[in-house]
Each structure stands twice: as structure tokens, then as C-alpha cells.
Amino acid sequence: MDTVILLTLTGLGLAALYFLVASGLSLVFGLADVLNFAHGLFLGFGAYATWWAAGNLPGAGSDGFGFVVAVAFGVAAGTLMAVLVELVLIRPLYSRTIEQVLVTVGLSLAGVALLQATWGADARPFPRPEWTRQVTTILGAQVPNGGLLLIVAAALVLGAILAFLRWTRYGLIIRAGVENREMVTALGIDVRKAFTLVFAIGGAAAALAGALGSVYFGTVSPQQGGSLLIFAFIVVVIGGMGSVVGSAYAAVAVGLLQQFVNYYGTSGLGDICVVALLAVVLLLRPQGIAGKVATA
């Protein structure tokens, strides 16, 4: 029983990480039709910015309030970068989908190489508060606090994004844009502002995933984003592109499946089961769990 609870909670922690990456990807894809390969770079950039801030920024540190400041700095840096990428690189190629993908591919190659050039290819120990290294006993299972932190953060982000989409004017524009972009444009609304906004949200969520994921793993490395990105893609496809709630369901399914099969089967089998799940979903329901709808 302990093992099942432990696996469920660590699986949910993994799911939280996937969700943080996938929610932004899904919104960006649903609204702007951009498959963003540079999303992993936002994650890596956020993680390194947090790492840098914890060591160098006055007022920030690796514990207590200083750590909050460091994470906030990382998220701000990731958001800024995502906005810059959208404004400088993606916007001139508006509605040329393939070229946009190519640019983000080039950016992901060059950006990861730049991270590697600046901070070295090897993983670095990540400064994290003392309490995240410890475990909490829940129903007899000893769960690492870093994982619980991820779950709480992902739940908050999910709530915030849904509230934003549901109750604000820009949320309404984004929801309408995902459903039918031409109609929104025809109504005289500049949908490109919403693109920038969606990139900012995605960048912030990815940077948060980078910072908290590094807390969970204890290290930060340039390649971290790339390996998470592939599973985030799978989550996006299973969840249905453009649906935040669909991404959340899919992330939970993928995270739990991976964790349980990796534990009870051979290590690595879980990753393969996830792709098998993807194939099954595609064969039975090609539009994903939720289809192309911004909210549930």
C-alpha cells in the first residue's frame, strides 16, 4: 500500500512537471499553430536564471524568502525570453507554419549550445531549500517534498490559467481564437497580441517547470529541457491541442503510467508504454481527449 501511494504521488509530481511544460505548448499550438521546439529552451533558461539568481542576485538565496525571489527572477527571465522570441522571430513569419517550426528548431539547437557554452555541458548542483530535500510521511509513504511542491505549483498554475481564460477579456479572446482565429480577426480584434500573451504564459509556466524541476532533481543541465519536451509533446497530442484541461488529464495519465510501469516492469518500459498509449489514442480518437477546445 505504501508503495502504491508513493508511486501515485511521485507519478503526480512527474505529471505536474509535464503539465507545466505542456499547458503552454498546447495553448501556443491551439492559438497560433506554432509547434514550439524552443519551449525546452525556455525551461532550461528559467532553470539557469533561477540558479544564477540564487547565487548572485542580492536579496535572493537558496532558502526561505530568498528562494522565492530567485524563482520569481527565473520565471520573469523565462517570460521575457518567450515574449522576445515571439516578437522578434515568430511574428514576422505569421501564418507560415513550417517556417515557424524551423525557426524554433534552429533556436532550440543554438540556445542549448549557448547554455552549454556559458555554463558547461555537465549537470550542476542546484541550490534548494533544506526542506525540499526531506520527505513527508503521507499514509505511511515517505514522499519527497520536491515532488509535492511540483504538484501544488501545477495545481495553482492550472487554476490560474483556467480562471484567466474564463473570467478575463483576453482569456475570452484566446478561447475564441483557438476555436476560430479567422472569425476573431474578422471581428476587428488584433489576435497577434493574444499570441504574445500566450507565449508569455507558456514561457512563464515552462520557466517555473525548469526551476521547480531542478529543485526536484537537485541538478540543472542544458539538456534537461529537451528530454522533457518530447514527453510534453506526447501529453499535448493525447490531451488534444489547445486544451489546457485535456493537457492536465493527459499529463496525469502519462505520469502515472510511466511511474507505475517503470517500477513494476523493467526500467524504461514505462516510457514505451506512454508511446503505445499515444498510438492507441491516435487510432481511436485522432483529435485527442478534448479536441480543439480551449477549456473543458
Binding site: L102, G106, L109, A110, A113, F233, D271
Partner: protein, 376 residues
């Protein structure tokens, strides 16, 4: 009538044809034979002892240079095969590394673990890679566009996991699997015989270019071009897009697997990095840099990319770079940073890649020549 016309051959610019009509130069007469000349030069290249300081480290016929050239040729062929998907049919696959890796690991495992001779192992690996491409294509092609890209990426990731986790102790995991040379013909073994491997790589490139050329010229190739331009129209004409795309996908997978078999011999084994999605991404970069949908663009792009990828590493450690300040020299010592940046610039400023450079320059030259005359 199943034949579909496609605007595959762009008409030469008017200015250029007028110029050609005026003076049928020697160049115009030689030009159709240029690929043949290049091929002959490439074949006899290993007999040259020329030193090209700065371009290659040793003489042209030194084993190191020949191996680098052979790898470049393989990737030229791979890029040409990938272009059959991306440039000719308009399919954005992010899983092409899988079929290449199937060729490399298939050949390696069959020779090293199963002890088969090369002439059995390589064809088996190529057939296996082709069947794999057919099966995965059959599932993945149920999606289109960006979803197709993601699905192929996911399947390729399974390949990477299978190789890295080393199920059944077949692949050697992170360490890779060195090729057991005992089962190979003696002409392909040893540093002194690198020249034979070079010729093998050249032969592979020639075969790929020939196959892609024949397919593009055939009725099937015209349907593929039609799929790239307007898929619904092909459907309206009564042709099944799914089937034609599956043919292209399987063929490209088979060509990649064949390239893998040769690559396995050249580098003498398999290592897990060839299964990574980064390899597919670099194939995409090669094709776009060279010029998608052209005959020589992807080949040139592949050769140039691999060459730069190898040479920029030694450039990165050279003295000239150390003299620069750290914020410049550190990024420039990363080949992927340089290539990624060049790639982004190419997407913006040279959408046709290297292949479009020559017509553009001709146009520029003509307009410069005509420029002063226009006032009167």
C-alpha cells in the same frame, strides 16, 4: 488518366535565357555534365596527396580525411533521402533518425551478436528498417501536418529509449556497440582500407540521388509533388493520399536504413547519439540549408553541414578563437550554436537554401548589368 501535372521545373528567368540564346558559352555546354565531372573527381580523389591546410588536417588521401569525407557523403545521401519526405512530399517527419539507427544497430547487432556475415547482415538490417518505416508510417500517417511531426518524434524516442536502456544486452546501452570486425571482408577492415569505405559511401550517395531522381520523375513522384502543393486536390482526382505518402515514407526509411548500414562500417560500430532527435533535427537543417525540393541542394547541405560540424570543433579550440573575448569565443566554439544561428538566418533570408543562391546571383548580376542602361 492518373498522371498529374505539377510545376516541378521552374522556368529559367527570362533574362538568363536571353543571355544563353545570345552566346551558347562553353559553360552552358559543360553544365549538364557537371555532376558527372564531380563524380569522377570524387572517385579519383583518394589517389591525390594534395595538402589543403585549413580545410583538411592531413593530405587528401590520409585515412582521417577520407573518413571525414565518407561521413559527409553518407549524410549528403541521408539528407537527399529525407528531402523525399520534406521537400518533395511536404511531410515534416521528426523521426527519421530511427530508420538510420535501425540500419546502424541492425547491421551491428547481426554481425557482432548473431555472427552473421556482412552480406547477410546488411540486407537484413535494410529490409528490417524498411518494414519498420512501413509499419510506423501506417500508424503515423493517420495524422497530418504538425501532429504527424509529433507522432514520428514520439516513435523515434522509443527507439532512443530502447537503445539507451539496453534491453536483453543487445545494444550496449550508453557505451555503444563496437563492430566485431572478424565477420567482415578483409578489404573493409583496417585504417589502410579506409579508401574502400570512402568509395562505398560515394556509391551510397550515387544510389540515393539516382533513386530520388527516378522517383521524382515518375508518375508517383508527380503525385507526391501534388500532395505537397495541395493534398485535397489529389484526393479529388481519385488518388489516395495516404497510400502515396506511405510509399514515400517507406522508401525514405529504407534509404536511411541503407545509409545506416554503410555508416556502421565507416565508424566501426554504433553509439546511442545517432538515435537522438537531434540527428533528425540536423537532417532538417541540412535540407533547408541546401534547398528543399531540389536535386543537389540537400546533398550539398548534408555534406557541408557534416563538414562544418566536424571542423568547427577544431576551429573552436584554435588559437585564433582564443584571442577573442570570452563572450564571443565561448559560443563560437559550439558548432551547434553556429549552425543553429546560420539556420535561423537562412530561414529568413535564403528560403530556397544554397540551391537558390545561383539563380539569385544571376538575377542580381543581370540587374546590375542592365541597371545603367535603363535611364535611356
Amino acid at each position: 488518366m492518373t498522371e498529374v501535372k505539377s510545376p516541378e521545373v521552374p522556368a529559367p528567368p527570362a533574362a538568363e535565357s536571353a543571355q544563353l540564346a545570345a552566346e551558347p558559352t562553353l559553360w552552358a555546354r559543360i553544365r549538364p555534365f557537371l555532376p558527372l565531372v564531380v563524380l569522377v573527381v570524387a572517385v579519383i580523389l583518394p589517389y591525390s596527396t594534395l595538402h589543403l591546410p585549413g580545410i583538411f588536417e592531413g593530405a587528401l588521401n590520409s585515412p582521417g580525411t577520407l573518413q571525414l569525407l565518407a561521413v559527409c557523403l553518407i549524410f549528403g545521401g541521408l539528407a537527399a533521402g529525407y528531402d523525399l519526405l520534406f521537400g518533395r512530399t511536404g511531410m515534416l517527419s521528426f523521426g527519421h533518425a530511427l530508420y538510420f539507427a535501425a540500419g546502424v544497430y541492425g547491421t551491428d547487432i547481426l554481425i557482432t551478436r548473431a555472427g552473421l556475415p556482412l552480406w547477410q547482415a546488411a540486407p537484413l538490417a535494410i529490409v528490417g528498417g524498411t518494414i519498420l518505416a512501413g509499419l510506423i508510417g501506417a500508424v503515423a500517417l493517420r495524422t497530418v501536418g504538425i501532429a504527424f511531426a509529433m507522432v514520428t518524434l514520439a516513435f523515434a524516442q522509443v527507439g532512443a529509449i530502447l537503445v539507451a536502456r539496453d534491453f536483453g544486452g543487445l545494444t550496449g546501452g550508453e557505451e555503444g556497440l563496437p563492430l566485431d570486425v572478424a565477420g567482415l571482408p578483409s578489404r573493409l577492415v583496417g585504417v589502410a582500407n579506409t579508401v574502400n569505405l570512402y568509395w562505398l559511401a560515394l556509391a551510397y550517395l550515387v544510389v540515393v540521388v539516382f533513386v530520388v531522381h527516378r522517383v521524382t520523375g515518375s508518375p508517383t513522384g508527380r503525385v507526391l509533388a501534388g500532395l505537397r502543393d495541395d493534398e485535397r486536390r489529389i484526393g479529388v482526382l481519385g488518388l489516395d493520399p495516404y497510400r502515396f505518402k506511405l510509399v514515400a515514407f517507406t522508401l525514405a526509411g529504407g534509404l536511411a536504413a541503407a545509409g545506416g548500414a554503410v555508416y556502421c562500417l565507416i565508424v566501426g560500430g554504433a553509439s546511442p547519439h545517432i538515435t537522438s532527435s537531434e540527428l533528425t533535427l540536423s537532417l532538417l537543417v541540412m535540407v533547408v540549408l541546401g534547398g528543399p525540393g531540389t536535386r543537389w541542394g540537400p546533398v550539398l547541405g548534408g555534406i557541408l553541414y557534416m563538414y562544418l560540424d566536424h571542423r568547427l570543433v577544431s576551429f573552436g579550440t584554435s588559437d585564433a578563437l582564443d584571442a577573442l573575448p570570452a563572450f564571443l569565443s565561448r559560443p563560437l566554439s559550439q558548432p551547434l550554436f553556429v549552425l543553429g544561428t546560420v539556420f535561423i538566418l537562412a530561414v529568413y533570408f535564403f528560403p530556397g537554401g544554397l540551391a537558390s543562391l545561383a539563380p539569385r546571383l544571376t538575377l542580381l548580376r543581370n540587374s546590375l548589368r542592365l541597371g545603367p542602361r535603363q535611364p535611356d
